[in-house]
Symmetry: C2
Subunit: 279 residues, 2 copies
């Protein structure tokens, strides 16, 4: 991975913790649950935010968070990202500081999504500048991709209570990230795309979580024109997808899916055999 | 409902929007999706936060948000909560102002949970002062409660993409609230408990969402010693439940559940008949 000259630690932690619980027979059952750790981000010695995270890819999470909050525009602006779990801190050093950091952090905080997401000011600012290519999709490829995605969700299957997100190309899963918050998983992938200089044009973004406004905005800002979810969507998520030109497919699981926007870009080349009741 | 002399609008909106999507046969399917609206909260003319919400109980959401953020300590401090969807605003007027509001809002923002939750400074401050009574539970009552809860989740069944939370007593569901964010649903119930002067001692809090740190803290601060979830939990959620003395039951669905903390307070009086393979 090209690190753009950024000095980074590699402080990823194990994601699941072994615990015991009593089941409905009053008997002990051993199992795993997801860890959740606070990570306080300092930028040029200024405390910015504390993220609650699974902790598997903390450096990429911090990078992607700074990108998706529009606080840093290019990875080259960053000199170092040093994560230390003993102090639960991520120390970010920039090369030339961040213009008006104080002012930008003091702007209104928008809270969204499943929890209440923090957005410092400018997330919505540049929407008009987003230009996405057509998000074409082929049904047969979509089915192959969904089958491939089934092999992931490792932490979810072991410990539950996490969301998974993936960068996909065609039928391939390029990167799959899980975190206690689906926004953390998105941010981590944004950090990864930055480091790998990966454009979003030919990618499809998959999430196990819901397609809310913040989810659609982040994916569009990452330059990705296809958004695929196992779950549902909100009306504001749909509205933004229409405005930004994101092909939106929800409830995608097995052979089922619903195309909420961009249906004219979907090639329905593999309709399932109809059940007799529908014939 | 006793409004504590608070002047309140009643601006609840319809929660679902009718839309059409194309299914896997390329054929249109009519359905509903959850709405999601921004609501900007102003306290004494100062802009505080924008919440993304379903919008069904906006006044209670704002009240409970102020309570759970520890910005307001008693409902009597508030003179009015006026929600106007034309301007997407909730105007809160206090009787005597909020001490050090500026300082408290400038304290670090903690983001947690499924999205990235906003917590202005003091959410974690008063944990040592929380004293909860023993969160006793009886298995037979738990089963009856879970059966009663099945009748709710109206918006979820119609539109998906929401989380439900409920205040329960014994086998009864007292209040059930759905929102696009589970933290909004918790906050709305916190507002409702305030207005109804409802203590938490004999209540059980139910959520369809996951038990993360922020969820456990909020429920404990609402004085409720029992927390029940259809989903899983994180290790930090469990850790806080142990520290605060919250009986924690996760994966509760049908006849199944797992007691992660407080098992000695659970009366296993109705173990299900064992399947032959377990006999």
């Amino acid at each position: 991975m090209n690190t753009h000259g950024i000095e980074m630690t590699n402080a990823g932690l194990d994601a699941a913790v072994a615990v015991s619980a009593l089941d409905e027979y009053g008997e002990p059952r051993a199992g795993h649950i997801a860890s959740e750790r606070p990570l306080t981000v300092y930028v040029d010695k200024r405390e910015i935010v504390t993220l609650m995270t699974l902790g598997t890819r903390p450096e990429l999470l911090v990078l992607g968070w700074l990108r998706n909050q529009r606080l840093v525009r290019r990875p080259e602006q960053i000199r170092a990202v040093q994560v230390d779990w003993d102090t639960a801190s991520a120390v970010v050093v920039t090369r030339d500081g961040i213009d008006n950091l104080g002012t930008r952090l003091s702007r209104k905080t928008v809270t969204t999504g499943c929890g209440q997401g923090t957005v410092f000011g400018s997330l919505m600012d540049d929407l008009e500048q987003i230009r996405l290519p057509p998000g074409t999709l082929r049904q047969s490829q979509l089915y192959a991709l969904l089958a491939n995605l089934n092999d992931y969700n490792a932490i979810y299957r072991r410990a539950g209570a996490v969301h998974g997100c993936a960068l996909c190309r065609g039928t391939d899963v390029l990167h799959f990230v899980e975190d206690v918050g689906r926004h953390n998983a998105v941010d981590t992938l944004a950090g990864l795309m930055w480091l790998e200089d990966m454009p979003g044009d030919d990618l499809c973004f998959y999430t196990t979580g819901r397609l809310t406004s913040e989810m659609v905005i982040k994916v569009a800002q990452m330059g990705i024109p296809r958004l695929l979810s196992r779950s549902g969507l909100t009306h504001m998520g749909l509205d933004l997808a229409r405005r930004l030109g994101v092909t939106l497919v929800a409830r995608a699981k097995g052979q089922h899916f619903l195309v909420y926007h961009g249906a004219e870009l979907v090639d329905f080349d593999a309709p399932p055999r109809r059940l007799s009741r529908r014939a």
